[in-house]
């Protein structure tokens, strides 16, 4: 993503809808892709994108240009995606549990088929989304976005040793999953 010009941001901050639309057109792919990589779900990535741009619109007036716009957008997107993942992870696990209970009450063989199908689907999507959201975010920022540890620490608002330990745990998990052949 190219940096957004100060003039365009200032125009959008003054309520120029066309300027805001231009910022959206130029940055939404970047925001959506990053959100998708952190959440692992297209629907979640859309919600995060929506949340980020609504927040952006409301914050434009107070944007101080101390940090680059790109860095700011990065931070807001990753943190919004992380919050979203953590919030929905609990709800989905609960729903999954309820569905499991419902099916168990009727037909046990159907349950195992359903869960196997679900697991196969997850496996096809890769191991990345099985990691916890904090570890996944670190790994995405490092491996896909190419950030160094200092950049990851700044983006996520954590210290360098936390970055290091999250990457270590994430990769250990991936190695373990790989050894078990996706168990």
């Amino acid at each position: 993503m190219r940096e957004i010009e100060k003039d365009l941001i200032e125009k959008a901050a003054r309520g120029d809808g066309a300027a805001f639309r231009e910022i959206y057109d130029r940055t939404s792919g970047y925001v959506y892709t990053l959100a998708y990589r952190v959440t692992g779900m297209k629907h979640d990535a859309e919600e995060v994108t929506q949340d980020v741009f609504v927040r952006l619109y409301r914050s434009l007036g107070s944007f101080k240009f101390e940090a680059s716009f790109k860095t700011w957008l990065y931070r807001v997107t990753v943190n919004s995606a992380l919050n979203h993942s953590k919030k929905w992870k609990g709800i989905r696990m609960k729903e999954r549990g309820e569905i499991r209970e419902d099916i168990e009450a009727t037909d046990a063989s159907e349950v195992s088929k359903s869960l196997e199908k679900e697991d196969a689907g997850r496996e096809a999507k890769g191991f990345l989304e099985r990691l916890n959201p904090d570890q996944r975010a670190c790994l995405v920022l490092r491996e896909i976005e190419g950030m160094n540890y200092a950049g990851i620490a700044e983006t996520l608002g954590i210290n360098l040793n936390t970055v290091r330990s999250r990457l270590k745990r994430a990769r250990e998990s991936l190695v373990r999953m790989g050894r078990r052949g996706g168990e």
Binding site: R164, L167, E172
Partner: protein
């Protein structure tokens, strides 16, 4: 350097280029002599690789912008000059009930006074009828039971203002 220390570095700083050259050389030296750590490094390179779905940039669907636009712009309706004019006209054309009632009472009083004035000129009677009619009309307006009647007998409510 001990194996657990080497493995920790292999998972983090060594892999990510965060170590200085001297530290890297120590690890390279250990890997040449330790088969287990070398195997662990190969496993990292094989399994701990992130391959995102689709290598390029993805694009959100058009409905995402629609939802953003709704969330942002529909909560802040634009106050155009026409909206302001219509608001003022609305105030003038639909006065508060108290004002309407006061005006109706004043008209009734004028009618009564006119009726008591001696003489029976046609102009006076016409004026008296007109004022009575107006008093009845404004009373009805004050109670909220009536709208502006138009020539076609339909409602003369100035509905066009709603579209401004």
């Amino acid at each position: 350097m001990k194996c657990n220390k080497v493995r920790e570095r292999l998972l983090t700083d060594y892999r990510d280029g965060e170590l200085d050259r001297r530290e890297c050389e120590k690890i390279d030296s250990h890997l040449r002599d330790c088969g287990a750590c070398k195997k662990f490094q190969e496993e990292i390179l094989k399994f701990a690789v992130v391959s995102p779905e689709g290598s390029g940039e993805l694009r959100p669907g058009p409905e995402v912008w629609d939802r953003i636009r709704s969330a942002i712009f529909e909560e802040e309706p634009e106050a155009g000059w026409l909206t302001g004019v219509s608001e003022r006209l609305r105030f003038l054309l639909k006065p508060a009930p108290l004002i309407r009632m006061a005006f109706a009472v004043a008209l009734i009083l004028v009618t009564v006074v006119m009726a008591r004035v001696p003489g029976d000129m046609p102009e006076q009677r016409a004026m008296s009828d007109y004022l009575t009619e107006q008093a009845v009309f404004f009373s009805a307006l004050g109670s909220g039971d009536s709208e502006f009647p138009d020539d076609d007998g339909g409602s003369g409510d100035l509905g066009f203002l709603d579209f401004v």
